[in-house]
């Protein structure tokens, strides 16, 4: 989350500042990609790219705080995802070979990054074992940083239903973690 500087960053980005837009992009895109990988692992990269294209086009007209910004971005991503799923159903295609982890560029602190990545990947894999609606609600609450009302509006459900789904998801996670002895 950007925090207090969000309004200034958004205004600068709307005026054309690439630095401000880069900060906004770096803040949201990892969460966006993780959310998309859980709900649609095959098309996450494509959907994220399309989402940003639409967000950039609508950026000059956007007004709101950081919660509204994230809600708008994830709403856009979810709509693009549904479009992508419909398109793939009509025109099925074979995915290209995925990039091997060995091809990912290494940083100076590659070991720590790898450990964090493994923890993140493990957590995402664990969350993927939840029912789809519960996993999506937990992701939108935790990763996207949206509150119950925003998630409810995004998913088109009531806030009570969202809250119940989130609680059930967490309980299921606790059961999975305690039963499998998983340590992150």
């Amino acid at each position: 989350m950007v925090g207090e500087d969000f309004a200034a960053l958004l205004a600068a980005a709307q005026r054309g500042s690439e630095q401000a837009f880069s900060v906004l992009w770096r803040d949201v895109n990892p969460a966006l990609l993780r959310y998309l990988r859980v709900v649609a692992s095959e098309h996450a990269e494509d959907v994220a790219a399309e989402t940003w294209v639409q967000v950039v086009r609508g950026l000059p007209r956007f007004t709101g705080d950081e919660t509204a910004w994230r809600a708008w971005l994830f709403t856009t991503a979810r709509r693009r995802l549904l479009d992508q799923v419909r398109l793939r159903k009509r025109h099925p295609s074979e995915p290209l070979d995925e990039i091997s982890p060995m091809d990912i560029p290494r940083t100076a602190d590659a070991e720590q990054v790898a450990m964090d990545h493994m923890a993140t990947e493990s957590a995402m894999a664990l969350l993927s074992r939840l029912p789809e609606q519960q996993a999506e609600v937990v992701f939108l609450r935790v990763v996207a940083g949206l509150d119950t009302e925003a998630v409810a509006e995004l998913l088109g459900r009531s806030p009570g239903a969202v809250r119940v789904a989130a609680h059930r998801g967490l309980k299921k996670l606790a059961t999975l973690l305690s039963g499998a002895g998983v340590t992150l």
Partner: protein, 305 residues
């Protein structure tokens, strides 16, 4: 003291809904032990980005620049628009810079088309066309254009240019293309005098180009009518008394035409003979007494009637 352990579901719940809300909100300070692994997993989901998650920044930035948003920190590649006045407000649905270029181009094109010079030229052309359509007649240089465009004019011109070099040339200027009576036309005016016809006909030999080809042809027809022969010698002998002033040497030579006139060339004779033959047929209805084959007398045939 019971002999057996209670079932696993008995006893107080290890966490309640408030604990779940706290975990969802990221508050892990007072999390129950049973929820600690869940809190750790959610913290791992909130971990910082890895390199693979930042690969798409270049694409997003390119889109940002392509839509005209990325301008700060770089030299301006497009014209900077001046700030709007305080009272005016841009409509929210309109994009600022990119879409203003195209209407400007269209406006420039429209302005170029509607220049005063272009407008005046178009108006002048329209007036001329309307005048021609109203009057049904061509005048001045447009007549020449019409003659060039019409097949009959082309035939007439080619007939003149393919003639003998000594033959009277066809006037292609506006003065030479004046309306002359056509060869087959009927003339209601009184017949001209023989002296005028002869003088006018032979004067053209001394000053080629004074009269048009059609005029010369008309005079030749009149002479044929009056002489009742298309023989050059007979025609000259008929006209000799009237053209003494034109050919003083010939008149001294016992009514013999000058050499150049006595043999004007087969092409010229043929050309005039064809025209005159057709005209004589049309006028008299019978060409029995005339040589309608266009050959005329042989040059210097000396065929005195």
């Amino acid at each position: 003291m019971p002999d057996s352990l209670p079932p696993p579901g008995w006893g107080p719940a290890p966490f309640d809904e408030r604990d779940l809300d706290a975990v969802l909100a990221g508050k892990t300070a007072d999390v129950p032990v049973a929820l600690r692994p869940v809190a750790d997993a959610l913290a791992a989901l909130r971990a910082g980005p890895v390199a693979a998650e930042l690969y798409g920044e270049a694409n997003a930035m390119a889109e940002f620049r392509a839509l005209g948003l990325g301008q700060a920190g770089r030299p301006a590649a497009t014209m900077l628009l001046e700030a709007l006045p305080a009272g005016s407000r841009r409509r929210p649905g309109r994009r600022p810079a990119r879409h203003r270029v195209r209407p400007a181009r269209r406006h420039l094109l429209r302005r170029a088309v509607l220049r005063p010079a272009v407008l005046s030229a178009v108006a002048a052309a329209a007036v001329i066309v309307v005048a021609v359509l109203v009057t049904g007649n061509f005048a001045g240089p447009f007549r020449a254009i019409a003659h060039m465009a019409s097949p009959s004019a082309g035939t007439r011109s080619s007939a003149g240019t393919t003639g003998h070099p000594a033959a009277p040339r066809v006037e292609t200027s506006s003065a030479g293309l004046e309306t002359t009576p056509p060869p087959s036309a009927t003339y209601s005016s009184p017949p001209p005098s023989p002296s005028g016809i002869c003088h006018a006909f032979y004067a053209d030999f001394l000053h080629p180009g004074l009269s048009a080809w059609a005029t010369q042809q008309y005079l030749w027809e009149q002479l044929i009518k009056q002489v009742h022969s298309d023989s050059w010698g007979k025609v000259y002998r008929y006209c000799a008394p009237y053209v003494k002033d034109l050919f003083p040497d010939a008149s001294a030579g016992q009514n013999q035409p000058p050499p150049a006139l006595a043999n004007p060339g087969p092409a010229y004779q043929k050309n005039l003979g064809e025209q005159a033959g057709g005209a004589a047929k049309s006028h008299s209805g019978s060409g029995s007494d005339q040589s309608s084959n266009g050959q005329g007398d042989p040059p210097g045939g000396g065929s005195n009637p």
